[in-house]
């Protein structure tokens, strides 16, 4: 990369606070370049990003409702410390139940301080779904229901990032029959500015890229009709999958562990939902680009799509079950049965005709 003197100067300046914390210039540049790549920005934006992320520190609170803390895990389990360091450094994380030091009333106070003092100025990350049934009693923190907390905290925020499928669309708690009436943040707090980053868990790079976009441009990235940013959810997994050539050729795994599976052929017939799922998993991957399900030999389960637990199951079959018949019956069996019944009907009709008395000919 070739940068102008001015750009280099800016980068050097923005590096200063980080280099004091042991983040090397190389790591920092790599981070900025990765962010530009994820956001599909040209390299000329790298200095701009470097400048933006080392300038202001937005206040951020992280709320957990009906969740498994998987997204928090994804954030904290970064294998190399630098990325996490940078993320935590560009944000001022003021409340995060899993990692904060204060507890009890003290913790509540730090949350309310942000809400009061930074009204309309802070970011919220929400993890987990919000139960709405029976006045929201199924998830309460310090005597307040999740929905009331969300209304207060997200309603007064500059923007809310709903991470993971539960926070975005209700996810697993919202799976049929949805006993707690779980919904995503946007549904619980319709007036909040929400960006959805579904996935089970979210890719940390996508959260960071959202924040970086926000810091660089002062706005949240553009979203599709499900409220997901195009940079991460604009392309279908199937269209970026490393096994796609095997799909087009007609080379499919038919059984776990068969020769085709060992050869790394396409997992379509094993129920891969890559053709129905939009996310940048094939390029961003997980655990800092180590791997992702299809690379590891398991089909995509469509975890980033709304209602995936109801619409993407059975996970190991290509199509959902036909409503009204037993789950073991596939669409093809139902179809074949229909055609066979029709053929039988015609046969019976033909026999009936042959047996019925001939009509008097004119």
């Amino acid at each position: 990369m070739n940068f102008s003197d001015d750009a280099l100067h800016k980068i050097a300046e923005s590096m200063e606070p980080l280099s004091q914390k042991g983040v090397s210039r190389r790591d920092f540049m790599k981070f900025c370049a990765t962010m530009a790549a994820i956001l599909a920005l040209p390299a000329s934006f790298i200095p701009k990003i470097a400048e933006a992320i080392s300038g202001k520190k937005p206040y951020l609170v992280w709320l957990e409702f009906q969740d498994c803390a998987g997204n928090t895990e994804a954030l904290l389990r970064a294998t190399k410390p630098t990325a996490a360091k940078i993320i935590l450094d560009i944000l001022s994380v003021d409340y995060h139940e899993t990692i904060m030091a204060p507890a009890g009333h003290q913790a509540e106070k730090s949350l309310m301080d942000v809400v009061k003092n930074q009204k309309g100025n802070y970011l919220v990350v929400v993890e987990g779904s919000i139960p709405m049934k029976d006045g929201g009693v199924y998830c309460c923190i310090s005597g307040k229901s999740a929905v009331d907390i969300a209304k207060e905290v997200c309603g007064n925020a500059l923007a809310t990032i709903a991470v993971g499928t539960c926070a975005a669309y209700g996810g697993i708690p919202a799976a049929n029959p949805n006993p707690t009436g779980a919904v995503g943040v946007k549904e619980a707090v319709p007036n909040a500015t929400v960006i959805n980053l579904p996935g089970c868990p979210v890719n940390v790079e996508n959260i960071t890229a959202c924040v970086v976009h926000f810091l660089t441009f002062g706005s949240l990235p553009n979203t599709d009709k499900f409220g997901r940013p195009y940079f991460a959810y604009g392309k279908r997994i199937h269209d970026n999958c490393e096994r796609r050539a095997h799909f087009d050729a007609g080379q499919f795994v038919r059984q776990w562990g068969d020769e085709a599976h060992r050869q790394g052929w396409c997992l379509y017939e094993m129920g891969c939902k890559g053709p129905e799922t939009f996310k940048n998993c094939p390029t961003v991957k997980y655990n800092e680009g180590t791997s992702w399900p299809v690379q590891a030999g398991h089909g995509c389960i469509g975890c980033a799509e709304p209602n995936f637990w109801d619409t993407m199951t059975p996970f190991y079959r290509r199509l959902p079950s036909v409503p009204g018949v037993s789950i073991e019956t596939t669409a093809d069996k139902v179809g074949a049965g229909l055609v066979a019944a029709t053929a039988a009907g015609i046969l019976i009709h033909g026999i009936g005709r042959a047996l019925s008395p001939k009509k008097e000919e004119e």
């Binding site: 050729a249 379509y268 017939e269 619409t311 199509l319 074949a336 005709r353 004119e362």
Partner: protein, 221 residues
């Protein structure tokens, strides 16, 4: 006079044309669609392109099928009275009577065949259902197509369905309706032959040359 046989021009060229285009397209779409659903042939080398070709043929046939549908609907407004869209809606009192008469004839409950030049009420209603299934296949097909073809045209043709229905559910019904259409085809060919052989009305030939035979005058029916 009443028993005089008359030759009537029932099916105009666009009707016969779209009929045979539909036949070709549905066969092509069903064979290739079945492969997409159940890849029964396996490639031995990565250089092959079996799924690729199947999908390409599916999409070409899909466009041809769409065009055929458009011509047919246009002709429902421009063509003769046998092609008119009103035959698909046999809901008037007289037509409902004809509907049940035809049903009785096919179920051996009556020996009196439905006597019309074009479609009788039961057939007209069946074609309404079939055309609705065609429209569903086209809309759901373009919905599946729109996931990696982002233009406004594909949005309008089917992309809008994504979100109302989840993609796997769209695939499921796109797949199931194929079997319904195969079942329809069996019934359709059988009863065409049945009606032809019972009524000697030239039905099987009429879809090739357009002419049907009736007893009496066209204006009497």
């Amino acid at each position: 006079m009443a028993n005089e046989r008359n030759r009537v021009y029932a099916w105009e060229f666009p009707i016969r044309f779209t009929h045979w285009i539909n036949v070709i397209c549905i066969v092509a779409l069903s064979v290739t669609g079945f492969y997409v659903g159940n890849p029964f042939m396996y490639a031995v080398s990565s250089k092959q392109y079996i799924m690729g070709w199947m999908r390409l043929i599916h999409f070409i046939a899909a466009y041809a099928f769409l065009m055929s549908m458009i011509i047919r609907i246009y002709w429902a407004f421009m063509g003769n009275k046998y092609a008119c869209y009103t035959v698909w809606f046999p809901f008037s009192g007289k037509k409902l009577g004809e509907f049940f008469d035809a049903l009785k004839f096919y179920l051996f409950l009556s020996k009196k065949p439905p006597y019309t030049v074009g479609h009788h009420a039961l057939a007209g209603f069946t074609y309404l259902i079939v055309y609705l299934l065609f429209v569903f296949e086209i809309v759901s097909g373009f919905a599946l197509y729109s996931v990696n073809h982002k233009g406004a045209i594909w949005q309008a043709l089917g992309g809008w369905l994504v979100g109302i229905m989840a993609l796997p559910i769209i695939r499921l019904y796109h797949d199931l309706v194929m079997y319904v259409l195969i079942a329809f085809t069996l019934i359709h060919v059988y009863f065409s032959w049945y009606s032809d052989s019972r009524e000697k009305n030239g039905l099987m030939l009429s879809i090739f040359n357009g002419y049907k035979f009736i007893t009496g005058k066209e204006s009497d029916i």
